[in-house]
Symmetry: C3
Subunit: 349 residues, 3 copies
Amino acid sequence: MFPLNQWYVAGFSWELQDKPIARTLLNQHVVMFRTGSGEIAALENRCCHKSLPLSCGTIEERGVRCGYHGLLFAPGGACLEVPGQARIPVKARVKAFTVVEKDQILWIWMPREEGGTPTCEAPDYQVHSDPRYRFRGDVFHYDAPYQLIHDNLLDLSHLGYVHLKTIGGNAAVHMNAELKVEAAGDQVRVLRYMPDSSPPPTYLGAWPFAGRIDRWQEVEFNVSHLNIWTGGADAGTADMRDPQRGGFHMRGFHAITPETETTAHYMWTMAANSHPDRPDMTDLVYEQTALTFQEDKEVIEAQWKNMQRHSGAPQVDIHVDVGPNRARRVIERLVKENTQAAPQPVAVP
Amino acid sequence: MFPLNQWYVAGFSWELQDKPIARTLLNQHVVMFRTGSGEIAALENRCCHKSLPLSCGTIEERGVRCGYHGLLFAPGGACLEVPGQARIPVKARVKAFTVVEKDQILWIWMPREEGGTPTCEAPDYQVHSDPRYRFRGDVFHYDAPYQLIHDNLLDLSHLGYVHLKTIGGNAAVHMNAELKVEAAGDQVRVLRYMPDSSPPPTYLGAWPFAGRIDRWQEVEFNVSHLNIWTGGADAGTADMRDPQRGGFHMRGFHAITPETETTAHYMWTMAANSHPDRPDMTDLVYEQTALTFQEDKEVIEAQWKNMQRHSGAPQVDIHVDVGPNRARRVIERLVKENTQAAPQPVAVP
Amino acid sequence: MFPLNQWYVAGFSWELQDKPIARTLLNQHVVMFRTGSGEIAALENRCCHKSLPLSCGTIEERGVRCGYHGLLFAPGGACLEVPGQARIPVKARVKAFTVVEKDQILWIWMPREEGGTPTCEAPDYQVHSDPRYRFRGDVFHYDAPYQLIHDNLLDLSHLGYVHLKTIGGNAAVHMNAELKVEAAGDQVRVLRYMPDSSPPPTYLGAWPFAGRIDRWQEVEFNVSHLNIWTGGADAGTADMRDPQRGGFHMRGFHAITPETETTAHYMWTMAANSHPDRPDMTDLVYEQTALTFQEDKEVIEAQWKNMQRHSGAPQVDIHVDVGPNRARRVIERLVKENTQAAPQPVAVP
């Protein structure tokens, strides 16, 4: 089960090119496209005639045309044309999802009841248009349930074991870092500060540090995505807890959208600032990040496979699990709300 | 379920070479071979000793020899030899199927009750020996139930969307073609005529048309196979409904034999006539046809996968479904007959 | 079900290098490693924290360190370290198996009840240290239940059909060979002698025979492994039933350890003596043997696949099945013993 009546990330603007794309989101099989006239759409990925995925079809000015017998569907789901037949059957339509495009992110509303409409605005993510940063991103597929990815991102202590080659650095420093967990509403924040530590390889490649650095990791968990602000400044030169601090900044957007109960999409971007004396390092940062996330994927998929082998085996908690466990309680509470009855009108006698 | 007490196509003569071949037909695991002395055979593909597939064995003068301990089986299923043992156990035999070879087609009888014998002759297909035509064919495997292939072949309106590169042509012409559906007994015929239309790429490659053509598509559905007569003549030069019409002729033999409830064999040949002024175009026609059928396979397998994802979702019928739906009723009726009790002798008091 | 309270082969000494290895044995997911200090260990392959396989971790002086958050486990299963946390949780430990290393073979005790300790010594296999022989071996994985491999090894009559290219030779000779089956306790012995027969290709490659040979095959079945002594001497020069006979000797060690009910590990070595006039033939014998066992694997996996297709179909026994059937009765009896209640103290009134 997943929290519903929520915005989830369905993809990124740059994915909508000349072909429709198929993606399963929370067990819903969705086709997404941008019509010739520029409208974006998310429909159930099944022609109502012979069930061919509409993602096998072609995009036209007014919608998507099925690749089997040519039925044409509008972004709202209505069938606009049945070739060779004047009358369009009343039932000829496909389910449509509410989808909005903001900050190059495609947000889809996943209602509790079919046809339910959004009860709030889709989230903002201003980093994508902040001139101080440049970013690139990607979409990874996980053979693992979405909450294992939450766990991973809310507990960055694994960096010293999993990511030695990129953003890791010394394991002991990570494990002994000062850790603060805050929770409010549906958000959880995990803050870690590592003063006077060695800069890891990715940082050294991207920024001309003088020597040791003060390093920060600020993780903000939201139901649909995590924002992870990390970075470092020359040791002792700034207050690393100050949001206006200088130095090298990586701003990670990590949307985790369940595909099914046991698989997930990991849709991420990584933005970074450039040092004035250095050429643009966006590609380097992207490549190192992709490598890092590939390492996480291998670990998490191995973990999930093993959890299935040892189904029901108990797990022992340690100090790093505080943040992940908070987020699990948020998800648990929201999932419960899915099935709670809507408030009933009081019967007046 | 499949119609039983029927001949089905098991393969083609040219497939029986020096090795036995394994093929599952209507859930029966069959090994087929031609003995050294020329007899053809279809046996259950399992040695009665240790269950090795007999298709792992070798062909000899008198039958097939198991590749594990060398038991030899005759085309009728009897064990002829147990190496190292004089006495052949009474139970040492394998199930045999009735199989006949006609017109380079291998027909297998699929009885309602085990051991049931044919109640009619296997079908003829004289095109394979008609001197006006040359042909080639192939065996495709489908990850889709057999009736989805029937649907596809009985509704050639999809040509304008699926087969633009080969035999398609203008979508509107296909969708608006005059269509006639006839049914009689277990046969369904779908006739489509497209006067004064543009010749599609395959036709242009194979025949020197003067310009626009009168084009015909005559589909004859039988339980085990469809005959599809298509072709075209220079527009206005002949009555395209006349079986003796001139022009370019493609004669397709399309045997669809269920492998299981959800997979099928598509065993086809395509014959064509050659224009006296042109070199033999058999290979071109074969290659274009194979390409076309590959396109169908991709569409139908994508359709089936999606039907499974959306199990039970309703489909909306349109005008092109008349022929396919007729054929589905034939199959439905025949499947029902499988389970009807045989006529009972009347008890005389 | 498998016989329990038994030693099984878990692997070979040379497999324990710088990385831990994962292997499932009798449905137990095991990680094996040799610590930096030289101790060997077999643990449940799951970190008790977040369930990552310990085989994804790294070997240290004192044990294996998990590749996710760095927990360190000793060969006995105790957690020695939780990075960043002083106190080690009481439940932080993983299940350990009793494992011993003898003759370059890793033996694992599979107890009837969890935590049960060995009731006997692990078997010896002195061939591995006998100066007359040199050996090499390998570990094969089988998609087939372990008893099908027993059947195969206890009935060498299949050599004439399956292994013509290597150790086979004339099929009739194999099928008509004198055969003796002996059983005692949990052992079964199958003895076959083929006087005055043609040496097969592998023999000819490894030994300078004068012409025809007296050939022996002595198979000894044990629950965890089979010893197969085969070889040949120039015809008429020695008593081939005498253990002190001369000629060419192949000593096969064939450990078959169930992985699951339907898959198995086949861990084998092949030792042979060298003729004084010839260079060392160990590599040739190894390669020919590996080729032979690959042929067996293909046959047995095809057999198993077909047994599943024809689930429940009866099999007809022939003369060669006496040895295999004896061994099946041993297994059956031992499996029954697994579930027999331990002797109950008599209630004194």
